[in-house]
């Protein structure tokens, strides 16, 4: 187990270096010049050059990158070009809201997705089944921007149940979490439905029924536990989806997370912040996947962990 973990963490570290390298290259070849952006419209070419030297942007690429990597190892993500503050500080302030939003979204997608999926699978072909699958299709295909604005209009402005955007209380969390979780709920309801249909047709379910186990126990204990396995493994992978969704959902609802931060930094060519957010997102995705793999054997003893070297 520990060997496996160390192997995976080693892989993760390499992956992060790769991500940092690719992001750095992409930002390096960008035609926009951060020094000019900073210097403003009234600056003379000499001022722009002076700023470029101060930021170290005049150095050759390999030097800039190795210096960045050297600082990174020491936990230093640099200073924001536009805000002049430490990137770690800015990102740290924005990370908790995003994590909270993701947690909310996971609850939403599991609660809605699994419930609908199980109910639809109990009566395949019924009206409820058809309705639920159409609904899940809508959930999967509605752009998050549209869903967010619609929810705001209906639940905040018309019904006055929730505040119009912002951050602070659980009431602020409901609508953004719903919007972000809707997509996943759509996916999970479909996956859960087919997994349940599959499991319900298995021999052990028939055996359970034959033993006289009550129907709800058959569904919830015997079938559900087996059907839900592949889905739990998906949650870790979802983190990547959430990271991209957060950019949109956070701006619609004024949620002060790192998605919003990234969007603003991109517009300002604030390279240290873009790098910082990309790395944090990469770490989250890597950890999410790792967690999914670690949890799987506990849920299903048939799954065994293998160290990467054994492959």
């Amino acid at each position: 187990m520990i060997r496996y973990l160390l192997g995976r963490l080693g892989q993760a570290a390499l992956l992060l270096v790769g991500v940092s390298f690719i992001t750095f290259v992409l930002l390096y070849i960008l035609p926009a010049d951060p020094a000019r952006q900073l210097a403003g419209r009234s600056a003379t070419p000499e001022t722009v050059e002076a700023i470029r030297v101060q930021l170290g942007l005049d150095r050759p690429f390999h030097e800039q990158y190795t210096r960045y990597l050297g600082n990174l190892v020491q936990g230093d993500l640099g200073r924001s070009y536009a805000q002049k503050t430490e990137v770690t500080e800015v990102v740290a302030a924005r990370l908790p809201p995003t994590l909270l939003l993701m947690a909310g979204a996971i609850v939403v997608e599991l609660a809605i997705g699994l419930t609908i999926g199980v109910l639809a699978a109990l009566r395949p072909g019924s009206r409820f089944d058809h309705g639920a699958m159409i609904l899940s299709f809508v959930g999967v295909s509605t752009p998050q921007f549209v869903a967010g604005i619609l929810m705001l209009y209906v639940f905040s402005v018309q019904l006055d149940w929730f505040p119009v955007g912002g951050y602070g209380t659980w009431r602020h969390l409901v609508l953004p979490a719903l919007t972000l979780g809707l997509l996943g709920a759509g996916w999970y309801s479909r996956m859960m439905r087919s997994a349940m249909l599959d499991v319900m047709a298995r021999d052990f379910v028939r055996t359970a029924r034959a033993k006289g186990v009550s129907e709800w126990r058959v569904v919830l204990v015997h079938a559900f536990r087996n059907a839900v396995l592949p889905i739990v493994a998906m949650i870790g992978i979802d983190i990547g989806l959430f990271m991209s969704g957060a950019v949109i959902v956070e701006s619609v609802f004024g949620w002060p997370g790192i998605g919003q931060l990234a969007w603003q930094a991109i517009q300002q060519v604030d390279i240290p912040i873009i790098m910082g957010v990309t790395l944090v997102a990469a770490v989250a995705i890597v950890l999410g996947n790792l967690l999914a793999d670690l949890v799987a054997p506990f849920m299903d003893p048939r799954v065994r962990l293998r160290t990467p070297t054994n492959r």
Partner: protein, 538 residues
């Protein structure tokens, strides 16, 4: 609606009267203002976007300020000032009793320190270039001098500036945010984080800042203007889309949408009688234009540039953006001193345009590229321009790019034949015509990385501009304005630009807010003048 249309020029002329007889504004109360983007910084040496611009004005004070709601210069931290006969020395007497938020009195040494801090290349201030006429800035910037010798502290209440040349825009420069006075001890204590822990001597002080969530401004009880600010507190909620912000105002959760009315909702809101008293329209010191690179064929020929000027139907473009602008015929916006009301410009005349192209030997037309910022409505505007040009035989291909990339292309020699300036258009840093010349139409801006995207450089006009700016004697203001008027109409003879329109500002506030409309469309404090707005009622 008409009656609510206010232009800065009219304001400057007519406000003094009505303002004096206005009822005493309501004191106290707090409001909520929303913005989409988080505040980048509140450091006056650094902040240079229109979200933090007016906030910085309210946190800090400068030697010179503008009469609220107008573009008229008045003394601020200075009590009085004196300009020497040769226009080379400015002496400011400081107001007694003006205090920083930390309780210390503002003295002349603070003025010197603050300007040196802005001009010091280590600060990386985008505003350092505004003070080049102060003697000794060059040596200081290059590290050859420890201080700027042109700024002298005569005594704690007096500061003197020596210039290298007479500069009619100097008082504007000293009124710009980058000249805000900051206390050295607070800057030293905060270090690079001064932008997050600002200490000034303005009407408001920063009470709270939750990154990415909200900022709270509290009234500065020691502010040197009695009765100002009118509000006790302003909460800035950041991260809210303009659409969400409007919903918040409708529901009474916010009072003012800093980003304005989103285009998609504009017509609906404007035509709704419910909002009649909540929407204010004003001019702004902005011109949207198409540049033609005079170093690139065939725009090196003046006939071609004039032809393009006649080929574009500006009225139609204004309609495309729901009449949120007025058609332009010259570089200066109508509310800017020096604007020529009588100038007719190039009227829309495709037949004449074709004729001019024929004269230039291009009766078969030509192919070119139009660069444009890829955010709505700019691509739609570019398409309208493309259709118009097609009618006279010019085949313009549209290249829609991210903002920074268009700016980069414009600043690179012989790269972008045409650029539609929308979304990046020039908005004046201060209300003076010279600010619309040097960087965007003068030879100084026609350098790599510059903002003169036409690469137009007319030495004769440069000399005339320098002469106009040397007329720093306030009694010669009218003469100077006349000179600038001539410069801009002469530029149009060479037609390096097609001026398309001047954007109008539409702002929406909640019913709770009242007061003079002029404070909501203040030409210098964009989007609004936080110090003077107040709750409605008495």
């Amino acid at each position: 609606m008409k009656r609510r249309v206010l232009l800065a020029a009219l304001m400057a002329a007519s406000l003094i009267g009505p303002m004096a007889q206005a009822q005493t504004p309501k004191q106290g109360g707090s409001i909520v203002v929303t913005y989409k983007d988080d505040i980048v910084t509140l450091d006056p040496a650094i902040g240079y976007d229109w979200v933090n611009w007016s906030m910085i004005k309210s946190l800090f004070s400068r030697l010179m300020e503008y009469k609220p709601g107008t573009a008229e210069l008045v003394p601020g931290l200075a009590e009085s000032y004196d300009i020497s006969k040769d226009g080379l020395t400015y002496t400011f007497k400081l107001r007694k009793g003006a205090k920083f938020h930390n309780g210390r009195e503002v003295v002349a040494q603070d003025v010197k320190y603050s300007l040196e801090r802005t001009i010091n290349p280590k600060t990386e201030s985008p505003g350092a270039g505004f003070f080049d006429s102060i003697s000794g800035t060059d040596a200081f910037k290059k590290g050859k001098a420890k201080e700027i010798k042109g700024i002298t502290v005569v005594d704690p209440g007096t500061v003197k500036f020596t210039l290298t040349r007479p500069d009619a825009t100097f008082l504007h420069a000293i009124a710009i945010n980058f000249a805000s006075v900051v206390p050295k001890e607070a800057v030293d204590a905060a270090g690079k984080d001064f932008g997050k822990k600002p200490v000034g001597s303005g009407a408001f002080m920063l009470a709270e800042w939750k990154l990415g969530q909200q900022l709270v401004f509290k009234r500065n009880p020691d502010y040197y203007v009695p009765g100002v600010p009118r509000l006790d507190q302003i909460t800035f909620q950041v991260g809210l889309e303009p659409m969400t912000a409007i919903l918040k105002i409708e529901k009474g959760e916010a009072d003012f949408a800093g980003d304005g009315i989103p285009p998609a909702k504009f017509l609906q809101i404007r035509n709704d009688p419910k909002y009649k008293d909540s929407i204010i329209e004003g001019g702004q010191l902005q011109t949207g234009y198409v540049t033609m690179n005079v170093q690139m064929k065939p725009f090196d020929k003046v006939e071609v540039r004039q032809a393009v000027n006649m080929a574009i139907d500006k009225q139609r473009i204004v309609k495309i953006i729901n009449n949120r602008a007025v058609p332009a015929n010259q570089p200066l916006p109508p509310s800017m001193p020096g604007y020529d009301k009588n100038y007719q410009g190039y009227a829309y005349d495709p037949a004449k345009a074709k004729e001019l192209l024929k004269q230039a030997g291009l009766e078969k037309g030509f192919k070119t590229t139009l660069y444009v910022y890829n955010v709505d409505p700019n691509p739609r505007i570019a398409q309208a321009i493309q259709e118009d040009l097609k009618k006279v035989g010019i085949d313009a291909q549209i290249k829609a790019l991210a903002q920074a990339n268009v700016i980069a292309a414009g600043g690179k020699a012989k790269t972008a034949p045409m650029i539609w300036s929308g979304g990046m258009a020039w908005i004046a840093d201060f209300p003076d015509p010279s600010n619309f010349y040097g960087p965007i139409l003068g030879c100084a801006g026609a350098t790599p990385g510059g903002w003169n995207w036409s690469w137009y450089c007319n030495k004769e006009l440069d000399a005339r501009a320098a002469k106009a700016d040397a007329l720093s004697d306030p009694s010669k203001a009218a003469e100077r304005e006349e000179m600038w008027r001539g410069i801009f109409t002469d530029i149009m003879k060479d037609a390096p630009w097609v001026p398309i329109f001047n954007e109008q500002r539409f702002i929406m506030h909640s019913k709770r807010l009242g007061g003079n409309d002029a404070y909501y469309v203040d030409p210098v404090r964009i989007p609004i003048n936080y110090d003077y707005i107040h709750l409605s009622g008495n």
